[in-house]
């Protein structure tokens, strides 16, 4: 399989002073689900924003490196052009248009879709994935529950029929059962629609469960990458991301140590 997205040595600077990404490189292969994991402040969201061109909105800039999508340069393109090329980011924190109805929200997502008939067909597809949205069709998005809002933003992304869908923390603030449901649907979307998915998550266990490949980021750099089964077997990943202590048991809070095993990220 070939890589549809290639990020090479990306360097991102906020406010001309804060160096967030220090030479980050990653590849996303067509049709795969790639998880990008890392602790708070590692630069995961920045990576996604850099790809979808949102950095200028936050006074950030790509100072070095390239982003290539299907052989085309995305670096420094404006966000709407990037969306048209088939890259769609679902931002962190369920950004629905609160004062618009579910219907209107979905129509906004179909911005790149010219044919109305296709749009209606796509919308039906969304309702198949998320039947609840059909019931809430005329409601204001601001009054939906957190889980429903997350479903709405995913549907909105689906309507743009992206080649690459990037999700930023879809599990944030949701009940565990809902998280499982949403991840299952992400997997289905990948399988049925063939959409390539780049997933940023704090919930490493869930993310690795549905992914094929994983990258682990720390301090603006990739420290480890590999197919998911390899990552799951890595001691550092187990201890620092999957919360497993020594001997494969889940660590109890009582036994939490005040020191950390030195991370080495052997690959």
């Amino acid at each position: 399989m070939s890589a549809i997205l290639e990020v090479n040595n990306l360097e991102v600077l906020y406010n001309n002073i804060i160096l967030v990404l220090k030479g980050l490189s990653l590849k996303v292969e067509k049709g795969s689900i790639v998880a990008l994991l890392g602790s708070n402040g590692a630069g995961k969201s920045t990576t996604l924003k850099a790809i979808s061109g949102f950095l200028p909105l936050e006074d950030g800039a790509i100072t070095d490196g390239t982003i290539q999508f299907l052989g085309e340069e995305l670096t420094r393109l404006s966000p709407h052009k990037i969306v048209k090329k088939g890259v769609f980011q679902i931002m962190e924190g369920r950004r629905v248009f609160e004062d618009l109805t579910v219907e209107e929200n979905l129509i906004c997502g179909a911005y790149t879709q010219k044919k109305r008939s296709k749009m209606i067909k796509d919308m039906d597809k969304c309702f198949a994935y998320f039947p609840i949205l059909k019931k809430r069709y005329k409601r204001l998005a601001g009054y939906l529950s957190g889980g429903e809002q997350q479903m709405l933003v995913i549907s909105r992304a689906l309507l743009a029929t992206p080649t690459l869908m990037m999700l930023d923390e879809p599990s944030m603030g949701l009940a565990p059962l809902l998280v499982e449901e949403i991840f299952e649907i992400i997997r289905q979307i990948n399988e049925n629609e063939g959409t390539t998915i780049l997933l940023v998550e704090q919930n490493a266990r869930m993310a690795l469960e549905i992914s094929n490949y994983g990258y682990i980021m720390e301090n603006g750099r990739i420290v480890l990458d590999g197919p998911v089964d390899v990552l799951m077997g890595d001691r550092d990943v187990q201890e620092f991301y999957l919360g497993m202590g020594h001997g494969n048991e889940q660590t109890s809070y009582r036994n939490v140590k005040h020191y950390k095993r030195r991370k080495r990220w052997l690959s």
Binding site: N9, G23, L26, G65, V223, D225, K257, Y259, S267
Partner: protein, 603 residues
């Protein structure tokens, strides 16, 4: 020859306290603020801890193991133990549990002082195999509320026990000190163990006094000199430098927060004596060269101009030529323009004497520091002679040699070139290992295991470890460390292991410096993710090939590294590939990378 006073170390300590009293003895950074301890306070702490140990049943001749980074408690416990006639031994805090177990068990320690939860866990994990260990004393009890209280005590608790005992018997501490004899064993220092398990070298009071006094004489140490303690105290050089030198001479010691913050701490303290190991010099050097690469073109140009002047002056000084007025003026211009800033940057502007020891260093590495005005000397010593035995005296600096013997050492060369040493600082033997002792000390002569040569004017150069010398299938003897150190001068090479014993040509396994090569790759838009992917890039191989070619030019053809392989994994103490002092364990490497080595010589 310096005159030995034949006092035990605790007596020296008491005399020092009597002389210096309220002057500052130690400084330690606590939450960002330097806190000081006077000699009087130092004594109180030592006394309390000693009496505390006594009430825990610690007896004359017992062994105390310390597993901690450098801190004042390390020194308190050490002196307390020695005052009671016990023996102190340090265990590297970076050691994995198995190695900790070996050292604590082999040394028959009865009490272990641990820095924190991490070190305590290492001991608890193997507690069943350590029947002699009665108590574990912990400096930082954080997170240990639920730990077994019968064997674990805090450092403070021991001091409380000591205070109680002192109330009952105020003269007990002095009485214990009086019982001591200068011939008693007082410290045990574990060799780093590049071959086989570490051996415990036993050292007595007289050994320490002889080394410390003759080192102080050779370095002309004065009481006003300040020292930053940052190398592991388990190592003999650091013990002499930051424990015994102050005891005998009266210097102030400053504890660096950690090895990671050493550069900041050095800048704050600006010590006048500095002991660096080759790895530290390499790091300081490469951090300057790498940062210069990032600066503007004008600054780069200035740097190269100044360095040219610096090197010129350094070379003339080293070859004892007179420095012309023009060069002096140019150098001072360079000083105000750049050298001063560089000296500040590495934190060594106030340094009066800087020394590189503990392993061989490339002369080129030190020449760089000479060029920026830090006249680093080289010293040579070993655990078995309680530290320093050779050093460049005064201004007599010859890079590439280790200078002349300190006054307590006599030396000669064995017929095969092995360096032999004799004197009052030669150790008392390996603990529980008479065979090894018999092989090491023969008729009072210490067989160093190092092959050396002596120049006409009496400067000794160390060629290599005798057992490391390679003999190629062409019958040529080659000292690998010489080539390895030259390779390590490149900021892109972190570690190099030269191979070729019994082979047709010389080759090397090279570990690139992740940070510097990573930066180099980023600047050239070469994508990599991890150490492995970086090391596997053909461009990196080409980069290292350049460094290798550069080194090859300096050596004879037979000594040229014809082939090399980049390691795809960083060598690590945890994987047994390195010792705690970051020396490569060759035997392990040969075994572990047998396939790679075969590949080099196959095709």
């Amino acid at each position: 020859m310096v005159e030995l006073t034949n006092r035990t170390l605790p007596r020296v300590f008491l005399d020092r306290v009597a002389a210096c009293g309220d002057q500052v003895a130690l400084r330690e950074k606590d939450f960002g603020i330097w806190q000081s301890v006077t000699w009087n306070q130092y004594l109180t702490q030592v006394k309390q801890f000693a009496l505390g140990l006594l009430s825990l049943g610690f007896q004359r001749g017992d062994h105390l193991a310390i597993i901690s980074e450098n801190c004042k408690e390390w020194l308190y416990a050490d002196l307390a133990c020695i005052s009671l006639g016990g023996v102190t031994l340090g265990v590297y805090p970076t050691s994995p549990s198995a190695e900790v177990k070996y050292v604590v068990r082999h040394s028959d320690s009865v009490i272990v002082l641990c820095e924190d939860q991490e070190q305590t866990d290492k001991i608890l994990e193997v507690m069943d195999d350590l029947p002699l260990v009665k108590k574990i004393i912990v400096k930082d009890m954080k997170g240990m509320r639920r730990y077994p209280k019968d064997i674990i005590l805090s450092f403070e608790q021991v001091a409380v026990l000591g205070r109680q005992l002192e109330k009952k018997n105020p003269y007990l501490f002095l009485e214990e000190i009086k019982k001591g004899d200068p011939e008693d064993i007082c410290i045990m220092i574990f060799t780093s163990g590049t071959t086989g398990p570490p051996k415990g070298a036993m050292v007595n009071h007289r050994n320490v006094e002889a080394t410390t006094l003759s080192a102080a004489e050779a370095m002309a140490v004065v009481p006003e000199d300040t020292v930053v303690s940052y190398l592991p105290l388990c190592h003999v050089a650091e013990q002499i430098f930051s424990l015994y030198l102050p005891l005998f001479i009266g210097n102030t010691i400053n504890f660096a927060e950690s090895i990671a913050t050493i550069q900041n701490d050095l800048r704050e303290i600006a010590p006048s004596l500095f002991l660096g190991v080759p790895r530290i010099w390499e790091k300081l050097h490469s951090s300057i060269t790498i940062n210069i690469q990032d600066s503007s073109r004008f600054k780069k140009w200035c740097f190269h101009q100044c360095m040219a002047i610096g090197y010129k002056k350094a070379n003339q000084l080293l070859s004892r030529k007179k420095i012309g007025t023009g060069l002096t003026l140019a150098w001072w211009a360079g000083y105000w323009l750049m050298f001063r800033a560089l000296q500040n940057y590495v934190g060594l502007r106030k340094v009066r004497l800087s020394l590189s020891a503990a392993a061989k260093v490339s002369p080129e590495e030190l020449l760089f520091f000479h060029a920026i005005g830090i006249r680093t000397k080289e010293g040579y010593g070993m655990t078995e002679c309680t530290g320093l035995s050779f050093i460049h005296m005064e201004d007599d600096i010859r890079l590439g040699t280790v200078g002349k013997p300190v006054s307590c050492i006599e030396y000669k060369l064995a017929p095969d070139g092995e360096l032999m040493k004799k004197g009052p600082s030669i150790f008392m033997g390996y603990y529980k290992n008479p065979e090894a002792t018999a092989k090491t000390v023969i008729d009072g002569w210490l067989m160093t295991g190092d092959v050396a040569t002596v120049s006409e004017d009496g400067h000794v150069s160390i060629v290599d470890r005798k057992k490391d010398i390679l003999i190629t299938s062409g019958g040529k003897n080659i000292a690998p460390s010489l080539i390895e150190n030259e390779l390590k001068v490149s900021p892109y090479v972190k570690e190099a292991i030269v191979l070729g014993d019994g082979k047709k040509f010389i080759s090397a396994l090279i570990q690139v410096d992740f940070e510097n090569v990573g930066k180099w790759a980023t600047n050239r838009q070469l994508a990599y993710t991890t150490f492995k992917s970086l090391s596997m890039m053909p461009e990196v191989t080409a980069l290292i090939q350049d460094a290798v070619n550069h080194v090859n030019e300096k050596f004879a053809r037979v000594e040229n590294v014809r082939k090399f392989l980049l390691l795809t994994k960083e060598l690590d103490h945890d994987d047994d590939e390195m010792t705690a002092t970051m020396k490569v364990r060759r035997a392990t490497i040969y075994k572990k990378f047998a396939r790679e080595i075969e590949m080099i010589y196959k095709g």
